[in-house]
């Protein structure tokens, strides 16, 4: 099976289609583990989660367990969270602080630098000499780098440096990461849930302006009720979403599969960041500060989204199988924010997002409906990637240029476009990474 079986990309004919099988084939899930999650940079943690020496966070890249540690001297490191002896998970907690990690199985011990410091009862163990030739230290992640407080890891030693991978997206990523001179932190409180559908449905939905007025009708009506009847949960200080529908916005796409959607902000005073704009303007300039008030959702390929459409959010969506995905969702906030702004931010976040919010569960429900149909190949080529093709221009639009942004392609215009071309670069990158594997699979098939 070559890649054209899954992605039909013919820009000169105005065609871009994704096949339903992309979301359902268990064989593709296995190949994605190796060729997407084994190759791409994955978000691991915020530096602000590991402030003190010996702080640690455990997470995953795809299905690979990862341990991120700050060593005794303050240096960050990323390792497989796996004991070299029998392969048990080494660190069994999500976060904490420890100079040493001792495996619960046979007691092999490692320092926060990843170095093996004890093999239990080694002296009496009658090991052959060859054992001493083995490296017993934790396996470091092949590549481990940070960008403005975000920690990333990559399992591919040949990968381009992180900053090169993020490329021109950085201009727009900085609009989130430079909201405070002290950096950003996660508001404490774990939001962790699963949905029964493919991970790429979250990729799609996070960049999808088109679904809002249909999937979230009940929420839009609630907000109207709060505005008009002055009834309901007004404490959330949520935006009047109908005001958004008269704004201009669009999308930018970038190399390596990154992209973002944006929209001008009708009620900037309802941004938790609003009171900080004078400070921000002095620090980053008026244009960038004004851009921070626009609604933006970034997808960093493959599975990291930073959304600033209500209060600032970071989410990862990790495939557990072809039809099961783990969501981790964090409310992100400027370090040093006033308690009043923090509470405002939290309550606005909770109103919309989360497995128990007013909007996110409706997204989850429709992902699962899509996945139900993908159990069959019959849906074939999907038509959800073409809206806005006639409005997509090469390079930077006016609003991108205003802050020196240099995307590959732009859409800029009225909200009603609700473009889907923002999804094309992510699927081009998916195709680029998966094509060699699919070709190899076809070759094997021929020789079988």
């Amino acid at each position: 099976m070559t890649i054209s079986r899954y992605i039909d990309d013919r820009p000169e004919e105005g065609i871009f289609r994704v096949h339903a099988d992309v979301f359902a084939d268990p064989e593709l899930f296995k190949l994605e583990q190796e060729h997407i999650f084994g190759k791409a940079w994955s978000f691991l943690a915020l530096e602000s989660q590991l402030v003190k020496p010996n702080d640690y966070v455990t997470t995953y890249i795809g299905t690979t367990p990862i341990l991120v540690m700050r060593d005794g001297k303050g240096k960050l490191g990323g390792f497989l969270n796996v004991c070299r002896h029998k392969g048990a998970l080494l660190c069994r907690k999500e976060t904490g602080n420890s100079k040493f990690h001792v495996c619960s199985y046979h007691g092999w011990a490692y320092s926060s630098t990843g170095k093996n410091i004890d093999i239990k009862d080694r002296d009496g163990g009658c090991y052959a000499k060859s054992f001493d030739c083995d490296d017993h230290n934790l396996i470091p992640i092949a590549r481990f780098e940070t960008y403005k407080g975000l920690i990333f890891g990559c399992l591919d030693p040949e990968a381009a440096p992180l900053e090169e991978h993020l490329g021109e997206l950085k201009t727009f990523l900085d609009l989130a990461l430079e909201q405070s001179p002290q950096g950003l932190e996660f508001v404490p409180g774990r939001i962790n849930y699963t949905y029964d559908a493919n991970w790429k449905l979250q990729l799609d939905n996070g960049l999808d302006a088109y679904h809002f007025s249909s999937t979230h009708t009940s929420y839009v009506e609630l907000i109207r009720r709060r505005e008009v009847e002055k009834a309901g949960h007004k404490d959330a200080k949520m935006f009047d979403f109908t005001k958004r529908f008269s704004q201009n916005g669009g999308m930018f796409s970038f190399e390596n599969g990154h992209s973002l959607i944006w929209l001008n902000q009708a009620q900037p005073e309802l941004r938790p960041l609003y009171s900080k704009i004078p400070e921000i303007e002095k620090r980053v300039g008026v244009e960038k500060a004004q851009w921070m008030l626009k609604l933006r959702t970034i997808n960093i390929f493959p599975n990291l989204q930073i959304a600033d459409s209500t209060s600032l959010l970071l989410r990862t969506f990790r495939p557990i199988s072809a039809n099961k995905t783990e969501m981790r969702v964090y409310c992100m906030a400027p370090i040093g924010e006033s308690p009043e702004d923090r509470t405002f931010r939290i309550h606005q976040f909770e109103d919309f997002f989360n497995v128990s919010g007013f909007a996110t569960p409706d997204d989850t429900a429709v992902y699962e409906d899509c996945q139900t149909s993908f159990a069959s190949s019959q849906p074939g080529w999907l038509q959800g990637y073409q809206r806005g093709m006639a409005a997509t221009t090469e390079g930077a639009s006016e609003s991108a240029t205003a802050i020196g942004g240099r995307p590959l392609a732009s859409v800029e215009g009225p909200w009603i476009i609700q473009n889907e071309t923002v999804l094309q670069e992510p699927y081009r990158e998916w195709a680029r990474l998966m094509a060699p594997a699919l070709r190899a699979r076809e070759e094997e098939g021929k020789h079988a």
Binding site: K93, R190, T194, D235, E350, N354, S356, A365, E368
Partner: protein
Amino acid sequence: MLDWKSIADDVLSREAAALDDQRFDDWIDLFLPDCEYWVPTWIDEETVAHDHTSQISHIYYGNRAGLEDRITRIRSGRSPASTPIHRTSHLFSALVLLGEAQDKQFEVRSSWTNHIYNPHKKNVSVLFGSSIHTLQCVDGQWKIKRKKILIKNDFLPSIVDVYFL
């Protein structure tokens, strides 16, 4: 002496039955207009959030209006997560008085298990945990002044709504 246990059993039973029978007006009516409704998150595996102003909650409402929004959405017919409506079975037990019961107010802890059936996906999920109700007697009627719900299995399945809790 106040028969707190009978009162708590009565109010919590009526709450569970109202949710299971989807009599949401009756459910809302059990809460005082200025009630607090709080479902805190876990900070890590062993620590529960303790401050809704500086930590994330699954749900936090400082009054009944948030619950009214919930019911409006469930009934709208326009929320795919709520349509068709899920079926639930609420069970609670282990009523324990916290502090001292006063004539018009007391606080009670319970353990609960709720089964939730999604008739669209045809699957079952289970949530369990503990709750603390502050009950208050207003005009001769015992009402919920505060409800704090701790979900113990917080690796959550797809959708959580107030009638699952």
